[in-house]
């Protein structure tokens, strides 16, 4: 499951382990397509990582904090530290590989 969160919720949450952040926006076509792909990946990798969706329009500070210039952007955090980022739509297998290599 990919959980939609706000900046406040993000700041308050437990970030231990691997967290995958999906930075998106409602009017962004590629973001809309990546959403369901990430949802599938999150089901298959539920034991490995936690998945969050962040609307950049509602949470610009968080986007700035993570240096997001273009979306969709997938950020991988290890114990709250950014370890990797991928910008743009990617097919499911590529997305899984990208997350897996950062586990």
């Amino acid at each position: 499951m990919v959980k939609k969160i706000t900046t406040d919720e993000f700041n308050a949450m437990d970030k231990s382990g691997i967290s995958v952040l999906d930075f998106n926006a409602v009017w962004c076509g590629p973001c809309k397509m990546l959403g369901p792909v990430l949802e599938e990946v999150s089901e298959e990798m539920a034991d490995d990582a936690k998945f969050y969706s962040i609307d950049t329009d509602d949470n610009p500070d968080l986007a700035r904090e993570y240096g997001i210039m273009n979306i969709p952007a997938i950020v991988v955090l290890k114990d709250g530290e950014k370890v990797d980022m991928n910008v743009g739509f990617v097919p499911k297998d590529t997305l899984k590989d990208f997350i897996s290599k950062n586990l």
Binding site: A25, M33, M69, N70, A73, P91, K92
Partner: protein, 289 residues
């Protein structure tokens, strides 16, 4: 939404042959592209090495190809493809006039002459982007440069300008619009190169320098790796194996887009192979369901 077995993009010899072969194999086919086949065919003077059509004029050859497709009950859907997304079990094809779905896709869109600017690919996703509406939210209080190639990009500039502090708009077409406010239009400048420095994007164009937080390039032609995110390229061509398979499962390519020699019969032959490979892929997909 109807999900087609095979979606073919391009109506040159590769695309038409792929559509015909898929149809012969009883698959549902969506053929996207121009109604008049490829300009490269119809504008050729004479072609001497196409088996069965000796010394044929280009426009006669195009007509023969299109008649063949029509006889097989294949219709061309005239639309411009913006992006093909590999969704796992299927593909979402975003077009100008709507969206389509296919279980497999064959890209036969020909060669694009488009060359990226120096510094463009290196900074893609790090300040250089092709979708201004996508990233608008990230430009609150920031500045952006738009290199635009059609008047259809003007609303996109306005959308971005609602959020951004300032937008530099550099039309590469015959501009007669009325963009204003915080959009500064500069005519007759040709972009030459892009660099990123201290988080700022710098565009060098016709002796002028434009600096902003990011650059959007809104081309009409899309390179294959942008058309299909995640697609593996070999230089300017799509990387394929002998079965015309790309690195993305269910996605095939045929014709000039896979590389030289740029020959009509080679394109048609590859279209045939790509369609047969798509058919085997579909059978496999069905078995696993």
């Amino acid at each position: 939404m109807e999900r087609f077995d095979v979606v073919v993009i391009g109506t040159g010899p590769a695309g038409l042959e792929a559509a015909i072969t898929a149809k012969v194999r009883n698959k549902t086919v969506l053929l996207l592209g121009g109604k008049g086949s490829s300009d490269k065919v119809s504008k050729a003077h004479t072609i001497q090495n196409y088996l069965g059509l000796p010394d044929v004029a280009g426009d006669d050859m195009a007509k023969a190809f299109l008649d063949h497709a029509t006889k097989m009950g294949i219709e061309i859907t005239e639309d411009k493809v913006n992006a093909v997304y590999s969704m796992g079990q299927y593909f979402a094809i975003q077009c100008h006039n709507g969206d389509y779905e296919g279980s497999s896709v064959i890209i036969a869109a020909g060669m694009t002459a488009m060359k990226p600017f120096p510094g463009e690919m290196e900074n893609l996703g790090r300040g250089v982007s092709y979708c201004a509406t996508c990233d608008a939210a990230l430009y609150k209080g920031k500045t952006a440069i738009i290199v635009a190639y059609s008047k259809e990009d003007e609303p996109e500039a306005e959308f971005l300008a609602e959020r951004a502090e300032k937008v530099y708009y550099l039309p590469q077409y015959d501009y007669s619009g009325s963009l204003g406010g915080n959009i500064e239009v500069t005519l007759d400048v040709k972009p030459e190169s892009i660099e990123m420095k201290d988080g700022q994007a710098i565009l060098n164009a016709s002796g002028k320098t434009f600096t902003a937080n990011g650059i959007f390039i809104l081309r009409e032609q899309i390179v294959p790796s942008q058309l299909v995110p995640g697609l593996e390229m070999d230089g300017n061509h799509i990387k394929v194996d002998r079965s015309m398979a790309t690195n993305i499962k269910g996605l095939f390519a045929a014709g000039d887009i896979t590389g030289a020699p740029y020959q009509y019969i080679k394109a048609a032959g590859e279209g045939n192979v790509a369609a047969l490979s798509a058919v085997s892929y579909l059978n496999e997909l069905k078995k696993n369901q």
